[in-house]
């Protein structure tokens, strides 16, 4: 196995992520998957939006496009149509992909364009200072929900299955080996692959909601991962009652996998 450092722009370090943020673990799992598949480094394009997770694109030694807020799937669509030879990977966050970019995400899924989307869900807007996101659980504290979030949150995977994504999975940042395996499957999948990674934001979500730092948050999410229970979307926030017994949460693993025609734009058949 190659050292994953060969896929990093070490000259661009130190990175912008906070201590305890799991995004780095997620990136390592992804690079391990790239290495296992022996993908051509020159033929990988990472397309990102705006937010903490999107900044990962700057640190990987691929062709990287750090676009505008929420629009990464649209940039990726144009790039993939122009260059079918590229492995196009979108790295995005929950606010980026599900709020401002929701429209682009569902239409990319509907078309079944052959790209892989990694959505790093930390349940909050981190880059801008801890505001509530469409993934923030009801009851949870954010800088814009000081009395607790009153809005219901998205189940991103259900949304994407509904939109037509042909590969949908959810993995936990606490389980790096699982992440690598699912990411490799997603990269190999012909068509639109969507992988929601439950990551953490100890700096804002963890601090505001008193669920501890990075280690505690990873432990907390992994305790919940017993088949059907899961990540940070959790009944306890509705009632503001901390509970050690995890209620049924979001399902993890590969949730949907089908083969259907892959979108390649309107072009002459047989021409790449």
């Amino acid at each position: 196995m190659t050292d994953v450092k060969s896929y990093l722009r070490e000259w661009a370090m130190p990175h912008v992520l906070c201590p305890g943020c799991a995004h780095g673990i997620v990136l390592r799992s992804f690079l391990t998957a790239v290495d296992q598949l022996q993908l051509d480094q020159d033929k990988i394009a990472m397309v990102a939006g705006i937010g903490c997770s999107s900044r990962l694109a700057g640190y990987v030694d691929f062709c990287t496009l750090h676009g505008t807020h929420g629009r990464a799937p649209a940039f990726a669509t144009g790039l993939k149509l122009a260059r079918p030879d590229l492995n196009v990977v979108v790295v995005t966050g929950d606010g980026d992909a599900l709020a401002i970019g929701g429209n682009h995400l569902i239409h990319a899924a509907r078309r079944n364009i052959d790209i892989t989307v990694l959505l790093l869900n930390n349940s909050i807007y981190g880059m801008t200072g801890g505001q509530a996101a469409p993934t923030t659980p009801e009851g949870a504290i954010a800088s814009t929900t000081p009395a607790g979030n009153t809005e219901p949150n998205f189940d991103a995977c259900k949304l994407l299955i509904g939109a037509g994504a042909s590969f949908v999975a959810r993995v936990l940042a606490a389980n790096p080996m699982d992440m690598t395996k699912v990411m490799a499957d997603g990269l190999n999948h012909p068509g639109f692959s969507f992988i929601e990674v439950i990551s953490d934001c100890p700096e804002y979500f963890g601090r505001y909601n008193k669920v501890g730092g990075g280690a505690e948050m990873l432990t907390w999410m992994s305790v919940r991962d017993e088949g059907v229970s899961g990540p940070l979307s959790d009944k306890r926030f509705v009632n503001h009652i901390p509970s050690s017994a995890p209620p049924p949460g979001l399902a993890t693993g590969v949730l949907h996998n089908e083969l259907r025609p892959v979108f390649s734009g309107v072009r002459k058949v047989g021409r790449s």
């Binding site: 030694d61 062709c63 790039l79 072009r267 002459k268």
Partner: protein, 388 residues
Amino acid sequence: MTETRLPEIPLAQAQLIQGNEACVKGALAAGCRFYGGYPITPSSEIAEHMVRLLPNIGGVFVQMEDEIASLASVVGASLGGMKSMTATSGPGFSLMQEHIGFAAMTEVPCVIVNVMRGGPSTGLPTSPSQGDVMQARWGTHGDHPIIVLAPSSVGEVFHVTVKAFNLAERFRTPVIVLYDEIIGHTRESVVLPATVDVIDREQPHDDPDDFWPMVAPPDGTPPLPAFGDGYRFHVTGLAHDERGFPTNDAQVAEALVARLHRKIEAHLDEIVEVDTYMLDDADIAIFAYGIVGRSAREAVERARDAGIKVGLIRPVTLWPFPAREVAAVASRVDTILVAEMNLGQLIGEVERAVAGNAEVLGYLKADGEPITPTTLLEEILHAEKVRQ
């Protein structure tokens, strides 16, 4: 510069086509191979012709979910090495501002066609207007230059669209082609050139390991390799250094924005195109562009028949504004009559360039109706009376 011909698409034969169709043919002749768009009146024929022609010449078409996504797909495809464009009208053009700024900041070549209709907002979807001239210049946030070209006939739409792609590639910049509903939908008989001169973006000669994507040669425009061709580099809308990586360094940010301006402003001779008519002995000059430029030409001829010394200055390049050319005219005439289908957008730029050296009058309207030669003749007669 290379010469291309397109045997698949007949050009050099008399054909009766719309402005929107001439735009498509110009784009394809210039090397456009990607179109990403969203339907909107009165530009939709561009998409409808593109989807029929592009596949035959190795191109690809996609209808995106909105205009924001359309221009994002165009930028993505351009980074993949395909010459790319989109087309829209006022409301869609408003949505595209985000990525016009992104393309300017990241220096990704692309062409945006805006077939103007009456505004504000949904406005008059099937009526002509020149209400987006200032939006084309200043619609984005932050400081960057932009190139905006305004054809006034079906034949000129072809020529201007070719030029738009060439300038986009030459200077790694978004270029906007701005015309109105009348030019978009009018059918005219044209004979297009069988071959056109085409410019392709510069490619780097560095070793890929030593490649810094934002190091510019003295003329200000860095080379741009395609994603996937062996150069691995970062593209970001954040202020960035010569390595393409984000920075908050004030000096680096200032140098970047200054270079973005310099690469355009140092090459006005390649960019600025102004058409003049009967100006040599004129006392009065009409300043008009796009479809109004054609009415103005007819009005000039009728006024000359009536013995009035009037001429026409018709900028094809609206931005960068041809201030030098307007100032030169102002030094020779008494009066400049600005006619535009808005309530006063370029007239302010004319006044600034004239700097008091001639009287500036305006005929400005935004009711969705064209400005006719008869109306402009009356305005010329009025201007002549005021002058005496």
